[in-house]
């Protein structure tokens, strides 16, 4: 097994302005269908979060660690499968993930087998890279979700179970404001930014409205759906021009991706190209992020967890409007433009959406190894209650029958996060 050369010190290499020299040629060693995603990451190096860079470099280090014979043995069956699938005859981009690529793969009768083989190669390469990596300390993490006061969700005792460890507690007094107390800290207790090194994308605040406290841009990645209105409107307009043709769509999407979005951004995003690119990718990947505030919060949280693996993520869900005339049949359209009647809020429907999507955010965090040390806290403001999932060693000893003061909840959390 080789030594790691350019990839010996991943942390240092991740901070460099460009990926190490051999990276592109290492990607070339991969079977064709594994190349687009990695090439796209290398080309968009400046848009990657620190965790993504470290992971990419770790993967390349894994490839480099194989001898030619070992590599051939690892990848041979996937290469053969690609031949059977006829990949060489497809208009398949090796430089980036495209809709046409995805369409070819998903339609193949060998799709399921292909996914399994790709997964198998990926896991083997990552395992090889990890063998030589120093273990990072297992610091506690937080996924904080907030169901605002105006959403009449069911009381936590009636929720679908999120996790076997989950417990509901009543909050003494008003639970509204607990999120701000946790984010900003309280006298004698640091806020969440204290646990997140500046610039490391380790703290995310994602808000369906404009309610969460604003922190210094270096301290946190912050997205407020309400403040993104001009950005979203413009984006929706561009996306709706997209023709129903895969090849043309990829070109259109590429054009959208590379537009200058700075002018449509709120002030806090103007100096943050990486976060702006995150937003563009988020909107291009659909999942309702352009349409409904809580869907935006859920999908942005899910993508932030996947791409940045932050120590703390705060997600505040919110109210959506009822669908207006005709938007029920053309829902992807901008309903404010199509119908200028005033929007009418849908508290009941929004509550069902927000509760389900808050659970989805927690489930998204469960996909990663850090789940073992992740605290889940959901604040149900409407009921002055919280739902807490805590690792056993961190769990508080609050009596189930007695309301817990907000400052005690925030204090316990600050202590737990300090490790």
């Amino acid at each position: 097994m080789k030594r790691f050369g350019a990839y010996a010190d991943l942390a240092a290499a991740a901070q460099a302005p460009h990926p190490p020299e051999p990276s592109h040629s290492l990607v070339e060693r991969l079977p064709v269908t594994m190349r687009p995603g990695l090439n796209q990451q290398l080309q968009g190096w400046e848009s990657l979060f620190p965790y993504e860079r470290r992971r990419l470099l770790g993967f390349l280090r894994g490839i480099e660690s194989y001898s030619p014979a070992e590599w051939q043995s690892l990848t041979a069956s996937l290469v053969q499968l690609e031949q059977r699938m006829g990949v060489a005859g497809w208009n398949f981009s090796e430089q980036q993930d495209t809709m046409e690529n995805a369409s070819h793969l998903a339609r193949s009768e060998h799709y399921v087998e292909w996914r399994e083989k790709v997964q198998s190669v990926f896991q083997a390469v990552e395992a090889a890279a990890e063998k030589a990596s120093p273990q990072s300390p297992r610091l506690p993490r937080l996924v904080l979700t907030v169901l605002p006061q105006n959403l009449p969700v069911e009381p936590p005792e009636k929720w679908k179970p999120w996790d076997a460890r989950g417990c509901a507690y009543r909050v003494a007094g008003n639970a509204a404001g607990l999120d701000a107390r946790i984010v900003q800290g309280q006298p004698g207790m640091p806020g969440l930014a204290a646990h997140a090194p500046a610039g490391g994308a380790d703290l995310w605040l994602i808000d369906a409205g404009d309610e969460l406290p604003r922190l210094d841009a270096a301290a946190a990645e912050q997205l407020h759906y309400k403040r993104l209105l001009p950005f979203r409107d413009r984006f929706l307009e561009e996306v709706n021009k997209m023709p129903k043709d895969l090849a043309v769509s990829d070109k259109t999407l590429e054009g959208v991706r590379h537009q200058n979005w700075e002018r449509w951004s709120p002030d806090e995003l103007k100096a943050q190209p990486r976060l702006r690119n995150f937003l563009v990718d988020l909107f291009l990947s659909g999942n309702g992020a352009l349409i409904y505030p809580s869907a935006f919060v859920e999908w942005a949280s899910s993508e932030a967890l996947r791409r940045a693996r932050p120590r703390a993520l705060v997600a505040r869900l919110g109210m959506r409007a009822k669908p207006k005339l005709f938007t029920g049949i053309a829902i992807f359209e901008n309903q404010q433009k199509i119908n200028t009647l005033p929007e009418v809020e849908d508290p009941q429907g929004s509550a069902i959406d927000a509760l389900e999507l808050a659970r989805y955010i927690w489930l998204a965090a469960q996909r990663y190894p850090e789940k073992e040390q992740t605290i889940g806290l959901c604040i149900a403001e409407h009921h002055n209650a919280v739902y807490l999932i805590a690792p056993k060693e961190l769990a508080p000893r609050w009596p189930a029958d007695k309301p817990v003061p907000p400052e005690e909840i925030a204090g316990w959390l600050a202590q737990a996060m300090a490790g």
């Binding site: 369409s103 998903a106 339609r107 193949s108 009768e109 799709y111 399921v112 996914r115 129903k244 043709d245 895969l246 659909g286 999942n287 309702g288 992020a289 349409i291 409904y292 809580s294 869907a295 859920e298 999908w299 899910s302 959506r320 009822k322 669908p323 207006k324 005339l325 005709f326 938007t327 029920g328 049949i329 053309a330 829902i331 992807f332 359209e333 901008n334 433009k337 199509i338 119908n339 200028t340 009647l341 849908d346 009941q348 429907g349 929004s350 069902i352 959406d353 389900e356 999507l357 659970r359 989805y360 489930l363 998204a364 469960q366 996909r367």
Partner: protein, 386 residues
């Protein structure tokens, strides 16, 4: 849905069908020829998970289907979609009896004969006896017939996308920068009129034959119906309109084979679980109304088999594909669904728990009509009369 709005939709539906018939000089089938025919109606719904439908916690979303209908049904508890879980591919697979792997956006026709073609060619059935009526924007009129040389459009179905006209009218107005609002209706009206006066009614989705301009009387009536629709403030669901057009087609032409697709529940792609469940409830209600209609029309009563099935489920909670939003995961949640069958063609009410596949539906239809099935046919489903 409020009565007055539904009345408006009914009028619009009747007029659309009237227009179709007038353009082709078609008349309603004679009662004698109808009497001899067995009828089959297939209702394919978009993605619905078992847990939101035929599971303990989902039954409240489908009170009609899980209630009285279920007691009279042949129910397949484990119907599998083992193909590409996209709309066009799934419906093509159901209609051809082979797993189709086509362009997701319907740019290609199925590569094997559809049941419409098999039925029409073998029985010399008239064109107005085979229809495909869809709410789904992911469909195109290529679903109506295959690329197989011996078949093709000559034997294809009438393919209709009723809601497209409404969408086009509104979206076109919006694209021109005019908003739909009672206060500025005068600015919108010309856009809608312009659309209605176009010679080529792409929006109607007619796939067969010549497309003629609307005659002035019909045009005026449709215009009035849309005018009324624009005035209302409640949401209009596409499935409601699709149902009403289907009902009108059944009254007027009594097709022997009709496929209807509903898709309100596909709002799940935009992340609203409550609206997704609302879409499921709408479908449940419309299926009940459809069966009541079948039992009330002499052309259908006592000789009709109804098949209702989701195209697929949706992805699992916690999946990397974002759970109920999508339907592309290779999981039981996405692939395993159900099918409820009622009426003339079933042997007896029963639940069949053994796994079956959607590609068995086409040979089953052939079995019901007594015609030859697809060349590479899977086994017909059990529980049906021949």
């Amino acid at each position: 849905m409020e009565t007055s709005r539904r009345d408006v939709l009914k009028i619009a539906a009747a007029l659309l069908v009237e227009q179709w018939a007038a353009a082709r000089g078609l008349a309603q089938q004679s009662t004698a020829s109808q009497a001899a025919q067995r009828k089959v109606v297939v209702v394919a719904c978009g993605g619905m998970r078992r847990e939101d439908t035929f599971a303990r916690e989902g039954l409240r979303n489908i009170p009609t289907m899980s209630g009285e209908m279920f007691g009279r049904a042949l129910f397949f508890a484990s119907m599998h979609n083992n193909g590409a879980t996209s709309h066009f591919n799934t419906l093509s697979s159901i209609l051809t009896g082979t797993w189709q792997r086509l362009d997701d956006w319907g740019l290609n026709s199925p590569t094997e004969p559809t049941f419409f073609e098999l039925l029409r060619k073998q029985t010399r059935m008239a064109r107005n006896q085979a229809w495909f009526i869809s709410s789904n924007k992911a469909m195109t009129n290529r679903i109506g017939s295959s690329t197989v040389r011996a078949y093709g459009p000559e034997y294809g179905a009438n393919v209709v996308f009723p809601k497209q006209l409404l969408i086009n009218a509104v979206v076109h107005a919006a694209a021109e920068g005019r908003a739909v609002h009672s206060a500025d209706r005068s600015s919108v009206q010309p856009e809608i009129e312009a659309m209605l006066n176009q010679d080529n009614f792409d929006g109607l989705g007619w796939s067969v034959g010549e497309v003629a301009a609307l005659d002035p009387i019909t045009l005026g009536a449709i215009q009035k119906a849309i005018d009324e629709l624009v005035r209302t403030s409640a949401p209009v669901t596409g499935d409601e309109f699709t149902y009403l057009v289907s009902a009108e087609v059944m009254r007027r032409f009594a097709p022997a084979f009709l496929t209807i697709t509903f898709s309100d529940m596909e709002v799940a792609h935009f992340g609203s679980y409550s609206l997704h469940l609302g879409g499921i409830r709408t479908v449940d209600r419309l299926v009940g109304e459809l069966w009541a209609l079948v039992e009330s029309l002499p052309a259908y009563r006592g000789k009709t088999t109804l098949l209702v099935l989701p195209e697929f489920g949706r992805d699992m909670d916690g999946s990397t594909t974002n759970g109920f939003f999508n339907h592309r995961q290779n999981s039981e949640s996405t692939r395993s669904t159900w099918m409820l069958c009622l009426g003339d063609g079933i042997r007896q009410p029963q639940v069949i728990a053994d796994p079956v596949e959607q590609i068995q539906i086409c040979p089953t239809l052939a079995h019901l009509f007594g015609i030859g099935g697809p060349a590479q046919a899977a086994r017909p489903l059990p529980g049906f009369l021949s």
